[in-house]
């Protein structure tokens, strides 16, 4: 039987606010355990939460960028459960009335565009972390992360393949990173994904029994886990058994999912409206202000790059993968570089060099103006393309401008026609047999003469000019 998968994704994105969602503590990473805490995020008796306005602003931006409708009035709710990393015994979240609903994202997989619905976006606080000691039956609690703002973005079960899931996630991640509301780092957990997946015979409307997958910390893992789980479910169904509705953890090393123990997932969260926080009322003017300040999003930028710079779809995609790269490209063009050439240099030499040095583009030793300068020197014939690569390497390692390096190393191309003509005449005179053969029709010998000139000029002769001159002088006979 042919089966199709039905997949829905729940994404938790940590917001890049300076302070926590309900207190003034810093959200900075890497601090000593429990140093970014105060009575409020420690859940001490009698303390009260006060909402960080920036969190709402970021959530509005994410909602607008994912085509959601923003609720005029949303309600904070308490999600109750006991765990040592949750100091209040409840998480402040949103339940029945989230900040945004009914959005969508368009994704492109293998050239086909698909629209994936977004059910809702809500805001909530993150929990702390447990640190386990392997040698001792003791766990420690670090509450630095407690109260870090999150948004949860829940998709409709519109996704059909692991590849679509990975593409949807990447599209969503790029948007949040563009908005500068999330750093999108899956490995570090600031962009986390759980997946709900079921399978059904193709053509059947009714949904199959689903499992929830957790613990996938890369796009590749999400696709691999879904792929495994879809195959596992098919084996279960084909064996005449029923899929058990449960939470399963992805084990990346084993390449398998396994069921979580029942005790860990049997939760009744007893949601109810949090009486400590007023319902959140968002005026249309506020939404408009956020809308006006939204940056150009990846999809729009991609098509603009194709249209106004004449770039291929592939180039546009690569250059818009991050806002920093796109900005670098546009600044390079702004500084006078021809777009296609700028694109090639950025995607090739620059990204390669940055990767080798593990630097971000923002920290590049060669800025857009310097790169445009180098490209200009190729265009005006000062150096050859081959030379330029060498010069670029020196620019990256020294941080000095192209012109300076070229001058110091004497790398200018010889483009003086008179000088080259003199050299060429000398070579023709010294090789009368070859000249004769050429004139007799052995046109291949052109390469010999050009090569001799290059040798004489240590490779600095302008090859185009040498070719022209050689054709002319040898033709004179």
């Amino acid at each position: 039987m042919q089966y199709e998968a039905v997949i829905g994704l729940e994404v938790h994105a940590q917001l890049l606010t300076e302070s926590k969602i309900f207190c003034g503590c810093s959200t900075a990473f890497g601090q000593p355990p429990n140093s970014n805490t105060c009575p409020v995020c420690l859940g001490m008796p009698g303390v009260l939460p006060v909402l960080n306005r920036q969190v709402v602003e970021f959530a509005i931006a994410a909602a607008l960028a994912t085509n959601c409708t923003i609720a005029e009035r949303s309600v904070w709710a308490r999600k109750n459960y006991f765990y040592p990393d949750l100091p209040k015994g409840y998480q402040i979240s949103q339940f029945e009335a989230p900040i945004a609903e009914h959005g969508w994202l368009d994704i492109t997989v293998d050239g086909d565009q698909r629209r994936i619905g977004i059910t809702r976006i809500h805001m909530e606080e993150d929990a702390g972390k447990l640190v386990h000691d392997d040698r001792d039956p003791v766990s420690y609690v670090d509450l630095n992360r407690t109260g870090t703002p999150l948004i949860e973005i829940v998709s409709e079960p519109d996704i059909r393949t692991p590849a679509e899931a990975a593409t949807y996630l990447k599209t969503l991640r790029d948007i949040l990173v563009y908005l500068e509301v999330c750093d999108g780092n899956m490995e570090e957990g600031s962009f986390r994904c759980d997946a709900n997946v079921s399978i059904r015979p193709v053509g059947q409307q009714e949904l199959g029994i689903r499992t929830e997958l957790k613990n996938m910390n890369s796009f590749r893992n999400v696709a691999a886990a879904l792929d495994y789980e879809i195959r596992r479910q098919r084996v279960v169904l084909e064996g005449g058994d029923a899929v058990v509705q449960e939470t399963r953890l992805w084990d990346a090393d084993a390449g398998k999912t396994h069921a979580m123990r029942g005790k860990e997932e049997a939760h009744d969260y007893r949601y109810f409206p949090d009486p400590d926080l007023l319902p959140l009322v968002i005026e249309p003017q506020w939404i408009q202000r956020v809308r006006d300040s939204l940056p150009e999003l990846p999809a729009a930028k991609r098509s603009r790059f194709e249209d106004s710079y004449g770039l291929s779809a592939y180039d546009a995609e690569v250059l818009t993968a991050s806002r920093a790269v796109a900005d670098f490209f546009e600044a390079t063009v702004q500084a006078g570089a021809e777009p296609k050439k700028a694109a090639n240099w950025i995607m090739g030499e620059l990204m390669g060099a940055l990767k080798a040095e593990s630097r971000q583009i923002g920290d590049s030793r060669v800025g857009p103006a310097e790169l445009a300068g180098l490209i200009g020197l190729i265009s005006d014939g000062t150096i050859s393309g081959k030379m330029a690569k060498e010069v670029f390497g020196l620019m990256m390692s020294s941080g000095r401008p192209a012109a300076e390096i070229i001058k110091e190393k004497g790398l200018e191309q010889v483009s003086d026609a008179g000088e080259l003509e003199a050299i060429l005449r000398g070579i023709i005179e010294a090789h009368p047999k070859e000249a004769e053969a050429y004139r007799a029709g052995k046109k291949k010998l052109m390469g010999f003469f050009v090569g001799q000139v290059m040798k004489a000029t240590k490779g600095q002769a302008n090859p185009k000019l040498v070719n022209q001159l050689a054709a002319k002088l040898l033709g004179e006979g």
Binding site: P45, V47, P84, P87, G89, R270, P275
Partner: protein
């Protein structure tokens, strides 16, 4: 002159005229505490040394001419309000050694106003109870009759004010916990409008109902304390941004021309006839003073108790989840036990039976499949109760009624019957559900010599009206000047 029975107004005058010092006054109160505590047990913690240091500082402030009306006045704080550096137990074993590193906002405001804090008052555990018998540290006794309960949950505070072991106190009221014990102890107790006084640092029982307020010997004193603690607090999102009026100036308004509503439904079956007679006599006094008394109806009154006992325990079940043995307070770790064993042991040893009962009630009411029938329905009826009051206040300026259906009952009389115990709040809890200001003030004594209070309820943020009515009644009577023979 008994310094310990001074009103704030009187003490403040004596201090201002330098006839007494705050240190003298504080010493007198500490002596009174020593003389009465064994019998009354109003305090859980006495901070004598700090009090004397604060009194000295207050005397300097008075000498420098920088004193306010509360400067140098000795007070007690209910042990549910966080006090920096002074343990705050909430009457519970689970917080026996909890010392907050912060002050509740209202405590900080009182400190700024020059309060001398004598100590922390006894209470029903986590403010759950109507007799102070649910304290993990032993019951408080009613100074008027040591065999009687003082009421609750702010029974330590009201007994202390009645016994003269502080000049004023601050309590909290979730379903009547200021007014009912104030009525039983013959003192003034004011629950302000929800949001009028910051809840920051008030250890939550039921967050949508909790409100702190003054417990004093006169209505004027209540106005002064409210003045000091009221007002918006950026640390409490539910605190009201409304301007704080001059409450003392409102006292003299009188009741002439005011329409006062008497709710038909508040003379409930099983009400002690002495309570009804006393309160009706009080109504007559108000009429003589020029108020017009009219009957009003609050038709959903009957549902109040049920609504309250769903909403309050539901919120409590969540609010008390933080006492888990992980971070502070009691932590019981059974040998070879796992995390769940620690939770079970800590919470079953740390909480008393009434707290456990309410956590279970609330957990049940919020559970999947029951939420709509219980919490959802209760929330809907709550709005109907609030609408009853809103409609009544279209006709009248304030509502007057009894506070509790009976005078203080005997210690031990209802401890085994939680439902009977819950009924003693049947006339006060609607005020909390609707978020309204309500005050209890002394209206007389039963034949047994136990105090009976009069309740005045106003519209939202109409504390001025409530205080004006109370002040007029107080001036026309002498109940508030009577003290127990302790």
């Amino acid at each position: 002159m008994d310094l310990h029975y001074l009103t704030i107004t009187q003490a403040s005058d004596l201090l201002a005229r330098r006839e007494i010092s705050s240190v003298e006054l504080t010493r007198a109160l500490l002596q009174r505490i020593e003389a009465t505590e064994e019998r009354v047990h109003a305090y859980l913690t006495i901070t004598a040394e700090q009090a004397l240091a604060q009194a000295e500082a207050a005397d300097q402030r008075i000498a420098a001419g920088e004193a306010g009306p509360l400067t140098g006045i000795p007070a007690g704080i209910k042990d549910v309000l966080c006090t920096r550096g002074v343990r705050t137990t909430c009457g519970s074993k689970i917080l026996e050694r909890f010392v907050p590193p912060y002050d509740a906002t209202l405590v900080a405001r009182l400190r700024d106003a020059g309060m001398v804090m004598l100590g922390k008052h006894n209470m029903d555990e986590f403010a759950m109870g109507s007799s102070t018998e649910n304290s993990a540290y032993g019951a408080t006794h009613n100074p008027w009759d040591l065999a009687a309960i003082p009421g609750g949950s702010s029974g330590g505070s009201t007994a202390s004010v009645a016994a003269g072991s502080c000049l004023y106190a601050v309590g909290t009221d979730t379903g009547g916990s200021i007014r009912q014990p104030a009525s039983h102890c013959g003192v003034v107790g004011l629950k302000p409008t929800y949001g009028r006084v910051s809840r920051y640092g008030l250890v939550a029982f039921a967050s949508s109902l909790d409100q702190a307020g003054p417990i004093t010997r006169s209505v004027a004193d209540a106005a002064m304390v409210l003045q000091a603690i009221a007002g918006h607090d950026p640390a409490d999102s539910t605190s009201a941004p409304n301007q704080v009026p001059d409450y003392r100036a409102a006292l003299a308004r009188g009741v002439k021309g005011l329409k006062l509503g008497v709710p038909r439904e508040y003379f409930v079956e099983g009400m002690d006839p002495e309570v009804e007679q006393t309160v009706r006599r009080a109504f007559a006094v108000l009429e003589e003073l020029g108020a017009e008394l009219v009957e009003v109806s609050l038709p959903h009154t009957d549902y109040g108790l049920a609504v309250y006992y769903i909403i309050a325990p539901a919120e409590a079940s969540s609010n008390l989840a933080r006492y888990d043995g992980v971070k502070y307070g009691l932590s019981v770790r059974p040998e070879d036990g796992d995390l769940l064993d620690m939770y079970y042991a800590t919470r079953s040893q740390g909480f008393g039976p009434e707290v456990v009962r309410r956590i279970m009630l609330g957990t049940y009411a919020l559970s999947a499949g029951y939420y709509d029938a219980y919490y959802g329905k209760a929330s809907a009826v709550r709005t109907l109760l609030a609408r009853d009051f809103a409609e009544a206040f279209e006709q009248v300026d304030a509502i007057v009624s009894p506070v509790s259906p009976t005078p203080a009952f005997d210690l031990g009389q209802k401890v085994d019957d939680p439902l009977q115990m819950y009924l003693s709040d049947v006339l006060t809890l609607a005020c909390n559900l609707a978020g309204l200001p309500g005050m209890s003030l002394p209206a007389g004594l039963s034949q047994q010599g136990r105090p009976i209070g009069l309740q005045i309820i106003g519209p939202h943020f109409a504390e001025e009206t409530v205080l004006a009515v109370g002040h007029a009644f107080e001036r026309a009577t002498d109940h508030h000047q009577q003290h127990p023979s302790l």
